[in-house]
């Protein structure tokens, strides 16, 4: 849904830009094209590798790791697994639900879901290329800790 809105928005701005100035529009399109090619080359390889890892690591194994044991340990596991994997939402949410059904702690699931999108080992090289090593390390490090804080906060509230 948001994607459709974004596409409409982008097309609208582009049209407006063409009306205002062809030259500037041409320049914009060139910039966008090159950014796309660069990102695509960066991301496609990573996606292919993550796809392979997810195929090798069936959801059942993740379930085993997050399913039981101590609350604190499984939550840290949850945060770690979220950190090293990328998963589309349509896999992550059903997986989380089945985790919950099979007895995993809510805290664990919250940690997993938060680090899944906010902290990225797989996207690390891309982030470094854009923002540099220091920023990437600090941002991901703080995000990881914050994801744990959010998760344990939920444990207190729910």
């Amino acid at each position: 849904m948001t994607t459709t809105i974004m596409i409409i928005l982008a097309a609208g701005f582009l049209l407006f830009s063409i009306i205002k100035s062809r030259k500037k529009t041409k320049k914009s399109v060139m910039i966008a094209k090159q950014m796309f090619l660069n990102t695509f080359i960066d991301v496609a390889g990573i996606m292919a590798l993550v796809g392979l890892v997810l195929a090798l690591l069936p959801p059942d194994l993740i379930k085993q790791l997050l399913g039981g044991g101590s609350k604190i340990l499984s939550t840290i596991f949850g945060a770690l697994i979220g950190t090293v994997t990328i998963m589309p939402a349509f896999i992550a949410f059903p997986l989380s639900k089945s985790l919950y059904m099979s007895g995993a702690y809510l805290v664990t699931i919250a940690a997993f879901l938060t680090t899944l999108t906010m902290v990225g080992v797989a996207t690390y090289p891309i982030e470094v290329r854009h923002f540099g090593r220091k920023f990437t390390l600090v941002r991901n490090g703080i995000s990881f800790v914050m994801a744990l804080v959010i998760a344990f906060g939920m444990g207190i509230l729910l």
């Binding site: 809105i5 982008a10 910039i31 660069n38 990102t39």
Partner: protein
């Protein structure tokens, strides 16, 4: 040749591994291909509009405006605007990198940079709906309610720990090395100079293959900030 190999090393590695699995474990190959296909499809839908909007911002929106609304002095309004920008944008976090870099280069603060990135990653209106669907209203809303303050704190902490110069352009000295040249470039990797990215362009400038003038984005900035950049390029 070496450069090409380096640039495509992940893709090459993936191709080799997929080849091995195709021969020995065909079922895993197909599961993986399906997974990768869905990732790529998402990317093809999301990246073009995000990048077109980013490129239009690069060309059209004056730095003043970004600095005013998202810069160091934008205060709580800037933080709220960053949260809104992040959460209404579509796509995974890697789509956010080039887009947010554009805003940063135009003067958005480090803290707002982190806020946009993080909210882009975690707070998504349609995603929250899916989450409610699967995990319940209470779970989803509590997670969002806790994430928002956490993101604001994160922005503050990262800003304290990472200086702007460590992320963006450095504004000192004349070119002594490729790194120096690179640090003066916008690092948008836009490719309008016909080099694949800013570091190859910097290398080109250093070796005299091309000049700083070929950097389209920098030329634009020079027009608006003649005095500052003029001193540096002398």
């Amino acid at each position: 040749m070496k450069k090409i190999l380096k640039k495509y090393k992940l893709i090459l590695l993936a191709i080799v591994l997929y080849g091995i699995f195709f021969i020995f474990k065909r079922d895993i190959f197909f599961t993986a291909i399906n997974m990768t296909g869905s990732f790529l499809l998402e990317m093809l839908q999301v990246l073009p509009p995000v990048l077109v909007i980013s490129a239009l911002i690069t060309v059209w929106v004056p730095s003043e405006l970004i600095r005013k609304s998202l810069g160091n002095k934008s205060g709580i309004k800037g933080k709220l605007l960053s949260l809104v920008i992040g959460s209404i944008s579509a796509g995974p976090i890697y789509a956010a990198f080039p887009a947010v870099l554009v805003l940063f280069k135009k003067g958005a603060s480090v803290s707002n940079l982190v806020i946009i990135l993080s909210s882009w990653a975690v707070i998504k209106a349609p995603m929250v709906l899916v989450e409610i669907n699967f995990l319940g209203l209470r779970f989803a809303l509590t997670r969002v309610a806790l994430t928002i303050p956490a993101i604001l704190v994160m922005g503050h902490l990262v800003e304290k720990l990472v200086k702007r110069e460590n992320i963006g352009e450095k504004t000192e000295n004349t070119a002594k090395s490729i790194k120096d040249i690179e640090s003066r470039l916008p690092n948008l990797n836009c490719g309008a100079c016909d080099y694949s990215d800013c570091s190859s362009f910097a290398e080109g400038v250093f070796q005299g293959e091309t000049t700083m003038k070929q950097c389209v984005v920098l030329q634009k900035q020079i027009k608006s900030e003649v005095s500052i950049i003029g001193q540096k390029t002398d």
